[in-house]
């Protein structure tokens, strides 16, 4: 037979990739859903401590990061419009903007975590254990959930950079942009999770 590899039919189905991407997004939603269950149970069990501990976080930094992520969501959504209109330059520029905003988010996060850690507030620290159970759990969840979220940002950075390269090489173009679209979906998911993390950790004091 003329086959050269295990699978010969090059079968392109953008709709299938999109359903697959959505299903993946659902798994991510449930992954964080599990953490939101833990958060809500412990908040219910330790209401006062959670409110006081949330007061320790800097609302300004949290708000700045929220706005950064929202803008980055818009830039990547716009990059799809640009792609559909066949504007390669603008697509790359918008993806670059998304990349830059994602980095800005991480830098903010780095300084935020850094200052908390230098104050002795990190999982398993003695200072935290002195504060009591509610604070221990709040900061445990804070580091775990924002950490897992930051990990998703880092993965997003890599994927967006990869898509930029693909757009640059015209392997993703105005009639074949499922990859860009799915990356966009992933990036919006990261934004969605943050939309809930932000009020739960920074605002409800």
């Amino acid at each position: 037979m003329e086959q050269t590899s295990g699978n010969t039919h090059i079968h392109r189905d953008d709709e299938a990739s999109k359903i697959g991407m959505w299903l993946f997004i659902f798994t991510e939603m449930l992954l964080f859903g599990g953490l939101f269950i833990v958060y809500s149970i412990y908040r219910y069990l330790h209401p006062v401590a959670f409110e006081l501990a949330a007061g320790e976080l800097d609302v300004a930094v949290g708000t700045a990061n929220t706005v950064i992520l929202l803008i980055s969501s818009m830039t990547i959504a716009m990059s799809i419009t640009a792609m559909q209109k066949g504007n390669k330059k603008l697509t790359i520029a918008l993806l670059g903007a998304t990349l830059f905003l994602a980095l800005a988010f991480l830098v903010n996060k780095y300084f935020e975590w850094g200052s908390k850690i230098s104050h002795g507030l990190y999982p398993g620290s003695d200072r935290l254990h002195e504060f009591g159970h509610g604070d221990t759990l709040f900061f445990g969840l804070y580091y775990f959930m924002t950490g897992l979220h930051a990990l998703h940002i880092i993965i997003g950075l890599v994927v967006i950079a990869f898509v930029m390269y693909r757009v640059h090489r015209e392997m993703v173009h105005s009639t074949k942009f499922a990859l860009l679209e799915n990356t966009g979906l992933y990036w919006h998911l990261v934004d969605l999770i943050w939309i809930f993390l932000f009020p739960l950790f920074y605002l409800v004091t």
């Binding site: 037979m1 086959q3 050269t4 590899s5 295990g6 699978n7 010969t8 039919h9 079968h11 189905d13 709709e15 299938a16 359903i19 697959g20 299903l23 993946f24 659902f26 798994t27 991510e28 449930l30 992954l31 964080f32 859903g33 599990g34 953490l35 269950i37 833990v38 149970i41 412990y42 069990l45 330790h46 999982p123 398993g124 254990h129 009591g132 159970h133 509610g134 221990t136 759990l137 445990g140 969840l141 580091y143 775990f144 897992l148």
Partner: protein
């Protein structure tokens, strides 16, 4: 189901075709769904032999009171490893990964699954996960001893080597999710023209429901296992009562996945049974839509019954009643299926062949397992029976009896299609009856031991339980003999059996319209489906 789509006979089958790679690489790097199905089959068979031997050794330990062949710590390690292997490596991938991979695309008239490379990735992740799990046995502080449930707080306090076991389970979860995702997309996008949702055979339907459970339940256990890892590494305190955490919350999160996991195991098994019975009854399946609806109902309601594993944990009364009622509700769709299978056989001129024997014995053991499940789902009896051998007998009837009988039934049903060869029917029947007798002898005494109060997970017991344990341990030897006969017969037939026809059983679903074994891309042209799946008129 449609006109004949047989390819020319001289075209090489999926077993024979030459790809880019040679030898074993032609298999482990193949993205062909049929080869991946067989990769899973061989991996699962290997792990099953290990898991079964562990089980046999535990039964030998329990043959008389006191220490026989192993001490308590070894026994703890054995039931943990037995559980992890059997649950995560065998029954969860089991039918979907082997028969789902092999037959889903063929049964819906497609050339492959939607994402062939992702499919291969799933298998590699499966292998990686298995490897990581097994390293826990040989490194660090010794084999994990928590049981496969990793209950907190013990799971982050035990000095044994938990990290690899938990990490491995996480990776295996990933593999399972990717398989489920792939199947859902395949079913949404790749059904042959004319095959509407309600012309799809029941095995694909069960895989569809299973896929959804895999996608929405597995992430919860994924994050829970991550939290256990964080707990061990960073001492965060999520489930540590000394730091304010709640161990019962761990149980909630664990069972939010692990109860639906039972349906990941049993739904495809029910799907396979729904294929076997109409073929041998030569009749359209009774209540095709009722079976579909009950499949979805089991998947859906089954997602909300996890608390019945925790009746003695100290949950609130309201939660207890809710979970108990929901548990009883989930029995209804299961009963509908049994009713439909029996009605299909009613007044049919049944052809008695090995797959049919497996199918009817499946119904038998599944009903015993299901009814004992109701005993456990009732709050009052549960208090008495929780953590006794009754529970062990119950879930082995469902998980091993249900999934195991269906798996071997499916194996005997589809064997001629997979390998293009017939198996020795005489030995197959001897294997089946030995397996069946061994199974009953092994697990029925456990019901009585459990009611009498013998707890699970102890290597020792008091003299009063001796009689039942002798019978049970004796049954385990018969069962192992049965397994050996079945495996030996199938392996031998796969190598040197007589050539099989395209359609040895007279089945009407699409997989019987391609050659045995099927060629690389199954169909020359995608068939146009005009009839329902079980049209025997």
């Amino acid at each position: 189901m449609s006109e004949n789509h047989t390819r020319s006979v001289d075209e090489p089958s999926y077993l024979k075709y030459k790809g880019r790679y040679r030898g074993i690489f032609a298999w482990i790097f193949s993205t062909d769904h049929k080869r991946i199905g067989l990769l899973y089959l061989w991996s699962i068979l290997t792990f099953f032999i290990v898991g079964a031997i562990l089980g046999l050794l535990m039964k030998m330990e329990l043959i008389s009171p006191g220490k026989n062949i192993m001490g308590p710590q070894t026994y703890n390690g054995f039931f943990t490893l037995h559980g992890i292997i059997m649950i995560f490596l065998i029954v969860i991938p089991g039918l979907p990964a082997v028969f789902g991979n092999f037959f889903l695309p063929i049964m819906i008239g497609a050339k492959d699954v939607a994402f062939p490379r992702l499919n291969l990735t799933s298998w590699w992740l499966y292998l990686l996960g298995a490897f990581v799990v097994l390293t826990s046995q040989f490194t660090g502080g010794g084999p994990p001893d928590t049981g496969w449930t990793f209950y907190a707080p013990y799971s982050f306090q035990t000095p044994t080597n938990m990290l690899p076991a938990v990490t491995g389970a996480f990776i295996l979860g990933f593999s399972s999710i990717l398989t489920g995702l792939n199947f859902i997309v395949t079913i949404h996008r790749m059904r042959a023209p004319g095959m509407g949702w309600f012309k799809m055979p029941l095995f694909p339907w069960s895989l569809y429901a299973t896929g959804w459970i895999q996608v929405i339940a597995t992430p919860i256990v994924g994050v829970t296992l991550l939290m256990i890892i964080a707990e061990r590494v960073l001492n965060i305190g999520f489930f540590n009562p000394a730091l304010g955490g709640d161990p019962i919350l761990y149980q909630h999160l664990f069972w939010i996945y692990s109860h639906p996991a039972v349906y990941i195991m049993i739904l495809p098994a029910m799907g396979a049974i729904s294929e076997i019975i109409p073929t041998f009854a030569r009749k359209t399946i009774f209540g095709y839509k009722a079976i579909i609806v009950s499949t979805i109902a089991i998947a859906f309601v089954g997602y909300f019954v996890w608390g019945h594993h925790m009746f003695t944990s100290g949950m609130s009364g309201v939660a207890l009643y809710t979970f108990s009622i929901l548990t009883f509700l989930v029995a209804i769709p299961s009963a509908i299926k049994v009713f439909n299978w029996v009605s299909t056989m009613h007044k049919a001129s049944i052809i008695l062949k090995t797959p049919f024997y497996w199918a009817v014995s499946f119904i038998f053991v599944f009903m015993i397992g299901g009814f004992s499940g109701l005993v456990l789902g009732a709050l009052a009896t549960n208090v008495h029976l929780h953590d006794t051998h009754f529970v062990v007998a119950h879930f082995h009837f469902i998980v091993f009896g249900g999934t195991g009988f269906a798996f071997l039934g499916a194996m005997h049903y589809w064997f001629p299609k997979i390998f293009g060869r017939k198996y020795d029917a005489g030995w197959a029947n001897i294997g089946w009856i030995t397996f069946f007798i061994g199974f009953i002898t092994l697990y029925v005494p456990m019901f009585y031991l459990g009611i009498a109060g013998m707890p699970r997970r102890y290597y020792d017991y008091v003299e009063v339980f001796h009689g039942g344990n002798i019978i049970s341990s004796f049954g385990s030897i018969i069962l192992i003999a049965g397994i050996a006969i079945v495996i030996a017969n199938l392996v031998k037939s796969a190598i040197s059996g007589e050539k099989a026809d395209q359609n040895p059983w007279g089945g009407r679903t699409l997989e019987w319209e391609v050659p045995s074994p099927p060629p690389l891309e199954n169909f020359d042209e995608i068939p146009h489906v005009t009839r329902g799946p079980y049209d025997y008129s």
